[in-house]
Symmetry: C3
């Protein structure tokens, strides 16, 4: 087992149920910003933390069938991607950057997004879709990944996160 | 009342005062990233949660007169906007994408940003402007939306958020 | 001492040790998004709060030697930067925008990123590098800023932040 793998497949041997809850709002739908919520949620589950993932705004793509398998990474506007600003919008650059990121993730044995969602769902994560985002995208439950627990509005999200640690990604 | 409307006009019938506090740091000034703080803050107010909104960095535009009415949405660098990377920087694309987002929000009866700020202020939100951002923009209280409670620095923000749930948008 | 300086050099005269902890995940590597974590962390330290900074994803650049001194600001895709979308990707625009931001920060006596890191480290901040990001960048401890306390994985980050207030930047 590599050093990286233990990020992805946490050991549950020493899992102790806690009353700690981590609620992660996933608002970005690019390939690079899909991973922080999955990795942190996965790590928290491995520590016995209750995890809620709430997919909203651009992050709705991460749980939408036909989109979740094809998230893209754009280096445009991100100087930390170290691609010259003049090159970044060139046709084909998004495809190339996305391809390179997939390879980089694969080298570290990090699962693709749909597989990663299956893993954290199997580990007990609660997965929620935002009602407003569903309405804006004209999508309903049938359009979403089967692991989604339900479509909820912001009020319901607030109700279920009393006492939780929050992250907005 | 539509399903979406109850995101915007929460019922206060069952409001119970709690000691729960949600403090939202709004650091982005684009039209799309102005809404998450307003929607989540609004929902929290409806549940009796104390809400602080702290506008800083690029998010300072959201409470600046003459700018708050004209926030723009750019699809550049956001692959989840589903506009080809090569088209996104074309002149007029920001205006077109902004226009389409306004229409999409309007269809769901979601208020424009200035009106939305009025609503959450009337519901008891505390609205703060960041001192450093004011200095960087060479702006003072007269340049800001009338609903701003004051200009505070990061130290004051830390002091008032002891025990709060935090979000950085 | 100017009004802005007290954001940067908090008074420790009235510091009271608390059991409050603030853990900030720094995931962006652009010059503008490097500062929120440093400024909020610095302010929290001044109030006696325990501060953990976790540098991950694009934010890994902020603690990488040879990169941390040259963070760039790109106005591309950020309409709040008020640079026309058609001009933003022009060659030289990133350099010019970065230069202007450095000047603006310098006018307010805000330290450059490496100096700012030294200040908050001297004030007691815990600085962590993400294992997965190190692997993706093919970097090890010798490549990182000397002030880094260690390279940790997401599980270790979750373990050390039980009860903390969290921010994802």
């Amino acid at each position: 087992m590599t050093a990286t793998q233990d990020l992805i497949v946490p050991s549950f041997d020493d899992e102790v149920e806690t009353d700690r809850t981590l609620a992660i709002i996933c608002s970005k739908g690019s390939l690079d910003m899909a991973y922080p919520g999955l990795i942190l949620g996965n790590a928290a589950l491995g520590e016995g933390v209750n995890v809620h993932l709430f997919f909203t705004f651009w992050g709705f793509d991460i749980i939408t069938k036909g989109r979740m398998e094809h998230l893209k990474f754009s280096p445009v506007g991100n100087p930390a991607a170290h691609i010259p600003a003049a090159l970044a919008p060139v046709p084909g650059m998004t495809s190339m950057a996305t391809h390179m990121m997939h390879k980089s993730l694969d080298d570290l044995e990090i699962p693709e997004v749909p597989e990663f969602l299956e893993i954290i769902k199997a580990s007990g994560a609660h997965v929620w879709a935002c009602k407003l985002s569903a309405d804006m995208n004209h999508l309903s439950e049938g359009d979403l990944w089967d692991g989604v627990d339900g479509i909820i509005n912001a009020t319901e999200f607030i109700e279920m996160t009393d006492g939780a640690q929050l992250l907005f990604i």
